[in-house]
């Protein structure tokens, strides 16, 4: 890729990866639980995909294997934590940081990665459309009911534990797509998922807004710009944290709430 387009390519890579991790976090949040470690599933997928790529496994097969491993790990975490209260679930999700710290994988130069950001951007947009369709479906309605009033949800026959396990598994699957595709990013380094990925994913959801699946993508665009812009690049994590704090206080519904309010007028 010509050097002049490198920042643009990096912007798209980051947008796609953060968008997918954010969408996964959004799915769990919709179900009434705060997931603080969704980037761990991206790290797991990357750690499963990278060695396969390094051994010459076809890219698509390696990526699918990574996604599958992440989804299985998500289901296991979901089974373990789905019965926990809101606070306990958030604390339990912190345990995933240990995963982020311990996974290892060959990095970009060793892999001689040559992927195009088009794949990860397309995956993020497809995932947002899929999440939007899911939100409108019966299963999505069930997840929202659990998130909004668990007691009332049970009264209409909804099993909140099952709904949460599904949400965590789907969230891990989306993060797994991000992790698997990130292996093909020329600057791939699995240590980037250590905490930064979680903060970026959370910032994307809070900045973009939890009301719609487009919120995490809108937030991911801002997070990606902050990570690539020469003005904020050096302090991207701090910018994300400030953005997260500011959005929580000033704009709790995120950017998406501005549009939904305008639409209702």
């Amino acid at each position: 890729m010509p050097h002049a387009f490198a920042p643009l390519a990096e912007l798209f890579w980051r947008f796609g990866i953060v968008g997918l991790i954010g969408l996964g976090t959004w799915l769990v949040l919709r179900c009434g639980r705060v997931m603080l470690g969704n980037a761990a599933f991206a790290a797991i997928a990357a750690a499963a995909t990278a060695p396969l790529v390094a051994r010459g496994t076809p890219d698509a097969v390696a990526a699918l294997a990574g996604v599958l491993v992440a989804a299985i790990c998500g289901a296991v975490f979901g089974l373990a934590a789905a019965r926990a209260t809101s606070a306990a679930f958030a604390l339990a999700s912190l345990s995933l940081w240990a995963v982020e710290l311990s996974v290892r994988a060959p990095s970009g130069p060793e892999l001689r990665s040559h992927g195009s950001p088009a794949f990860v951007v397309a995956a993020a947009i497809l995932a947002a459309i899929g999440a939007w369709r899911y939100a409108l479906s019966r299963h999505g309605h069930i997840a929202a009911a659990v998130g909004q009033d668990e007691r009332a949800a049970q009264a209409v026959g909804i099993d909140p534990v099952r709904a949460r396990i599904t949400a965590v598994t789907l969230g891990a699957l989306l993060a797994g797509v991000a992790g698997s595709l990130s292996v093909f990013y020329p600057g791939f380094d699995i240590t980037a998922y250590r905490l930064h990925g979680d903060i970026a994913g959370l910032a994307a959801v809070v900045l973009g807004g939890v009301g719609s699946s487009l919120g995490p993508l809108a937030g991911a665009a801002l997070v990606a710009i902050a990570a690539v812009s020469p003005f904020t690049k050096e302090h991207a994590a701090a910018v994300n944290a400030i953005g997260l704090l500011a959005a929580t206080i000033v704009l709790p519904g995120g950017i998406a709430s501005i549009f939904s309010r305008a639409a209702r007028r």
Partner: protein
């Protein structure tokens, strides 16, 4: 349909419900009456599996529901409302009613039709696309009822369904409850209220609770004539 036998619920050393019994068959409405703290909501929570019984038994249909999770009891055919509205706050009126149909097995179109029918029966059709936070307290209460009715569950437990309703809403809801109970196939309905007068002309039998204990159980006329009820609950006005 709903059989409560000698049901007790304890929280630590406190008996919130003490050997309470009631029976509600299809086509009947049973009223549970008592002031705040008398055990009405504890009884409803025990019925729907939110509180475990320390002794006694509860059956819905022919089967005991002891130890079952609330969502399993709902699937066994008991739909309930809560003292607070407990609506899905970021959903529309229609979406709230649609959630009630999750107890049914059927196509999406049938679920949608059932939700619309429930809203229409409670005079909420025109507000179907509004969010529940935009409604009056009485309308919110009616949405909670619509959600339960949309389920088509044969057993219904409504915790203070008449609270917050104005006169015109009461004129709509009271006959509706009576009609639902007595329509072909009939449903068993247990309602609670703080005011025994709410049961007049509505309930086939009335259970009066006081400090977790049943102090009277019978027809409305028999209950309001009961000396214990008058002393403990109805007060001087009823003596006169």
């Amino acid at each position: 349909m709903i059989e409560v036998r000698e049901a007790s619920v304890s929280f630590g050393g406190v008996k919130a419900l003490d050997k309470v019994s009631l029976s509600c068959r299809r086509g009947e409405i049973v009223g549970v009456v008592g002031p705040s703290g008398s055990g009405k909501s504890t009884l409803f929570d025990a019925l729907s599996g939110r509180h475990r019984l320390s002794s006694g038994s509860i059956a819905v249909g022919d089967a005991s529901i002891a130890g079952l999770a609330p969502h399993v009891i709902a699937r066994r055919g008991l739909a309930r409302t809560f003292q607070e509205d407990s609506l899905f706050g970021r959903m529309t009126v229609f979406e709230n009613a649609l959630a009630g149909t999750y107890l049914r097995d059927g196509a999406a179109a049938l679920s949608s039709a059932a939700a619309h029918a429930a809203l229409e029966s409670l005079g909420l059709s025109e507000r179907a696309n509004e969010y529940v936070w935009e409604l009056t307290p009485g309308e919110r209460r009616r949405v909670a009822l619509a959600r339960a009715l949309a389920s088509n569950a044969p057993a219904l437990a409504f915790d203070e369904p008449l609270r917050s309703l104005d006169e015109s809403e009461l004129e709509l809801v009271r006959p509706l409850l009576r009609r639902i109970a007595s329509e072909p196939g009939g449903r068993a309905i247990v309602i609670s209220d703080r005011d025994v007068a709410a049961c007049a002309g509505l309930c086939d039998s009335v259970l009066v609770l006081h400090a977790g204990k049943a102090i009277a159980y019978g027809t409305f006329d028999a209950v309001v004539r009961d000396v214990d009820v008058r002393d403990a609950y109805l007060g001087v006005e009823w003596r006169q």
